[in-house]
Symmetry: C3
Subunit: 281 residues, 3 copies
């Protein structure tokens, strides 16, 4: 029903970039999309990904896209390699479209099983993931659908925005280019087991200074302890019930560390990429 509603108002198109909102780059993308798909509705996921931080963008998209209705089109452009030879992808996965460069920022389109786990002790590094049959990915090579001539520095406007409009209008993925069997993805955002507990990483620090980790609340055994920045924390239920540092399963199912009326990132001195771990009771 949600998706029928969405069709009535035009497909939703989400944007995730590191372009910021100062420079007019995002506006150019929106203008191109709405010029070609006037009934699309555009939702910004974020444009404040740290410049060229593909991992941060991939995680932002993965967290947000699940709330969109079927048929939505998600564009992610965090692209240190713009204008070079890496693939430009359009993907249909689970009733949803994904568009962007083939560098890991579209990891959300690949099921966790195909992405595989992160090795304990390792950080998140992008790598090739073989696609299961239910995920269809193509490289964008049909120039007639693009905005020409394609700029070497702004494929967001000239390649990915036109393709977003094309798919929002009901276009056919296969018309865009040949199918690929694998793409670059980050390991599943799920802390692996060490035998004694979980080897976690901070994935994101939010505006409130909360540390969002890759530790799934569902993976934590009752009575476990979270060790972060030299501190030992038990799991709480809401931010407000604690007066000090609290570890709590957040709104995406991931354990996050919060400091009520303060900033966990400052108190603990931890940032994205840093180590946190869970020890079994």
């Amino acid at each position: 029903m949600a998706s029928e509603d969405a069709v009535a108002g035009g497909a939703l198109v989400s944007l995730t970039t590191d372009f910021g909102l100062r420079d007019g780059y995002v506006a150019a993308m929106k203008a191109v999309i709405l010029s070609r798909a006037a009934s699309a509705q555009i939702v910004d996921i974020t444009h404040d990904v740290d410049p060229q931080d593909v991992l941060e963008g991939a995680f932002a998209l993965e967290t947000a896209f699940r709330h969109f209705p079927a048929g939505s089109v998600h564009v992610a452009v965090i692209d240190p390699g713009v204008g070079t030879a890496r693939n430009r992808l359009a993907i249909a996965s689970g009733g949803t479209y994904f568009i962007g460069p083939d560098n890991g920022c579209l990891s959300a389109s690949v099921p966790d099983e195909a992405r595989g786990p992160r090795a304990a002790g390792d950080g998140y590094r992008p790598r090739a993931a073989k696609l299961p049959p239910e995920v269809m990915a193509v490289t964008i090579e049909n120039d007639s659908l693009l905005r020409g001539p394609v700029s070497a520095t702004f494929e967001g406007r000239d390649v990915f925005a036109p393709v977003a409009a094309y798919l929002a209008n009901g276009g056919v993925l296969a018309e865009l280019g040949p199918r690929v069997q694998s793409l670059i993805a980050f390991p599943a955002f799920r802390a692996p087991s060490t035998g004694h507990g979980l080897d976690g990483r901070v994935l994101h620090v939010d505006r409130f200074g909360n540390l969002i980790t890759d530790i799934h609340g569902a993976d934590v055994r009752p009575g476990s302890i979270l060790i972060a920045g030299g501190r030992r924390l038990a799991l709480a239920h809401t931010y407000a019930e604690s007066t000090g540092l609290a570890a709590i399963t957040g709104s995406s199912g991931l354990v996050e560390i919060a400091m009520p009326h303060g900033s966990a990132t400052q108190v603990l001195g931890l940032a994205a990429g840093d180590h946190v771990r869970v020890t079994w009771p």
Copy 2:
């Protein structure tokens, strides 16, 4: 006529939060709203309220909501107590809907008379306000309308966004839960009289460094003097006609202090909450 127009394009839904735009929280709320109310149009009032500053959010909403057409739905989520037992409210007031936690951030839904005046010498503190009969407020308790399971940390997405969609779609307030007779509100944003003048407060510092006060231009007698940061100012008509600090009745009817080509907040060393006063001539 404006409201008929608005119906044609779907109800307007405004958002006021302290979530910022970096983290994808706002996008999740928008996705939930548009999944369920595809023809809604969402307008951001601000997401840059200082973290957990309920007063700032209440004032931002009060200033902006008057410009929206009848039937609009205003969601405000500045919520230090998320996940705890405070009420979650939906309110119909003056042809407009308001949705959010019961902590003062929805003060705009309550007429000034019911909120009562601030006592001279006091700051703005939230308190219970008895609602007049023309304001209908309910606590949100009908879980079938929410996004389940409700997260303990993100009711904006799981409670307030679904309710916004429900009301934007023409839903009935009484279906949401039982009626309440009072809610938490800040005193009316209107500097009280001291007998010798007005006891004002800075309510907001805007991007230009202008100090927006709670002194109503309509309450100031001709020839009065505004005293702020040790400086004495007469009222001017536009920013540009003055070359130094100017006190002027701004676009919301409130006296604001501006420094042309400079920043009044820096020149005066004043911030939100600080004292300013008017002395009668």
Copy 3:
């Protein structure tokens, strides 16, 4: 075809201001526009123009508006003189509408030939430009179309937003007020020749620290050298192929200076307004 599509979804209205997104000013403008033109679609170009930097706003609009379909309405409000006697303009130029104060921020509405070149050695200063017959500009004087009473400090909400809605609804320019034959515009954003090369200026520093210049890639002769901050640079094709500072024709056809995985503005110590030059081979 693009414009027919756009009509189906309502006219696009773009906004370019120095209001920021913290204060609710932009939301008030959007609420007024959507109250009166419910099917309009609003796209933010930027609201982060440096306070009162008319040149920066004019350049942002000029860069972005070309991507919008015919019939779009572009509102730009960077207005140090708000409330004073400068004209308030509505302009039809090349199938597109422009609305804002007459101070240079609407330069994009005037063809380069009418704006004339910048003199070599000079900065960008606004000046009167005589309009060619195909550009129709009027001063906004028909108060019945405005939001009354007009605030002396917020014409964006009370004048320019209502006029944007009026034109988005298919309103007639001549109804707004009398025609004017000239308006204030910046010289064409195109580095003039010095005989030995081009006299360039940095027009903008983007989020990545790239320096966007007014040097048109099409004006540069093969083998020319760009001199910026004491460094001599040849032209490259993409950011990524260079490991050091690179000068490359960017997505708007202008030469920009980039530092892969770094910030050109920091490396060179250059900012908007600063000198860069091209020497012929």
